[in-house]
């Protein structure tokens, strides 16, 4: 059962020496942090390593958190920096949005798209599949906007860019996501969109 305390109250408890309060913070944010990490790594093992690394870095720097922004915004900026460093180290292929390698990779995963069982798949399954095929930046913006409860200004803060640039990037990311969905679902897209 998760704590009903706010993030700031939990942080104050951690700073006062109550280590278990940090476990509550981890539990509260782990799904989103892990999902963001997945946008960059495409592998559960790597994503889990990135996510763990982020929470440990956040713990070490907790005293320097000024509380001028939401804890989630501060945490996501750590995730973004850590994931970008991971990408540079691993040299993950992020060359072109039209690169179909990721598409092929996801299609070949067991249990993925198959015309015979398409009716059994949920809408969110196809959506997540299409998001997996986006570039990390596009996928991150879409995820933060729709699931991270982050405003354009907060996303700009996380990515270190202007809010207007985020707006343009979000617009393009939505368009690319729509294209990916159309490509993946072909005839089914009319039902979905």
């Amino acid at each position: 059962m998760q704590s009903k305390l706010t993030d700031i109250e939990l942080i104050q408890q951690v700073l006062a020496g109550n280590q278990s309060a940090y476990a509550d913070l981890v539990k509260r944010h782990q799904r989103f942090v892990f999902s963001l990490a997945m946008r960059f790594s495409k592998s559960r093992e790597d994503a889990e390593e990135i996510a763990q690394d982020c929470f440990i870095k956040a713990y070490r720097s907790l005293a320097s958190f000024q509380q001028q922004s939401k804890f989630s915004t501060w945490l996501y900026s750590i995730v973004y920096t850590t994931a970008m460093t991971f990408l540079r180290k691993k040299r993950v292929d992020t060359t072109s949005i039209d690169n179909d390698e990721a598409f092929i990779q996801i299609e070949s995963k067991p249990g993925s798209y198959d015309e015979n069982n398409i009716e059994n798949k949920s809408r969110s399954y196809y959506l997540n599949q299409a998001i997996d095929q986006l570039l990390p930046d596009d996928a991150t913006i879409i995820t933060m906007f729709y699931k991270g409860e982050q405003s354009l200004d907060e996303i700009a803060q996380v990515l270190g860019i202007e809010a207007n640039t985020v707006k343009v990037k979000l617009f393009r990311a939505r368009q690319r996501l729509k294209d990916k969905l159309e490509r993946n679902l072909k005839h089914e897209v009319k039902e979905l969109i």
Partner: protein, 164 residues
């Protein structure tokens, strides 16, 4: 960026001004192209909200907390050091040094002119009663504790600096 599409997304996201909102509402009501595009985007927006987050392994929180414990980073450093302790120690040394300085200057023979003579032996009979064996042991004990505290602080900082 297409102007119509941009305006419609701003409208859906709620990031346009009240005037723009009013103007776009009218366009949606009266312009078939706008209405069609608006409905398409609204559906997309609804679908994007269906996105599911991934779950990490069941032991994720445990692993994070274990790593933190293993690194002996049990508390953030700022939480360990109470500022009042630092201020207390600072005040102790400042008062001691100031008292000693006042005492010494008070014992200087200023009438000696240009050749100021510092007394060879201070008349400290009235404070000798305080300098007992217990006081000296206590003072040394305090110094040792302070030294260990500073050493611990130094080693912690080094440990943190070594971590990637």
């Amino acid at each position: 960026m297409n102007s119509m599409e941009e305006k419609l997304w701003d409208y859906i996201d709620g990031s346009c001004t009240a005037e723009e909102h009013k103007a776009i509402t009218l366009l949606i009501e009266h312009d078939e192209v706008y209405r069609k595009k608006y409905n398409e985007f609204l559906k997309m927006d609804k679908d994007f909200n269906l996105m599911e987050l991934d779950d990490p392994s069941m032991t994720f929180t445990y692993k994070v907390m274990e790593t933190i414990r293993a690194e002996h980073a049990q508390q953030p450093l700022k939480a360990v050091i109470d500022k009042r302790i630092i201020l207390g120690i600072s005040a102790f040394f400042i008062i001691t040094i100031a008292a000693l300085l006042i005492y010494v200057l008070g014992n200087v023979n200023w009438s000696a002119g240009s050749s100021i003579k510092i007394p060879e032996q201070l008349n400290a009979d009235h404070i000798k009663i305080f300098i007992t064996g217990t006081v000296i042991k206590g003072f040394l004990f305090f110094d040792v504790i302070l030294g260990l505290f500073l050493l611990d602080n130094f080693l912690r900082r080094q440990n943190v600096a070594k971590q990637p």
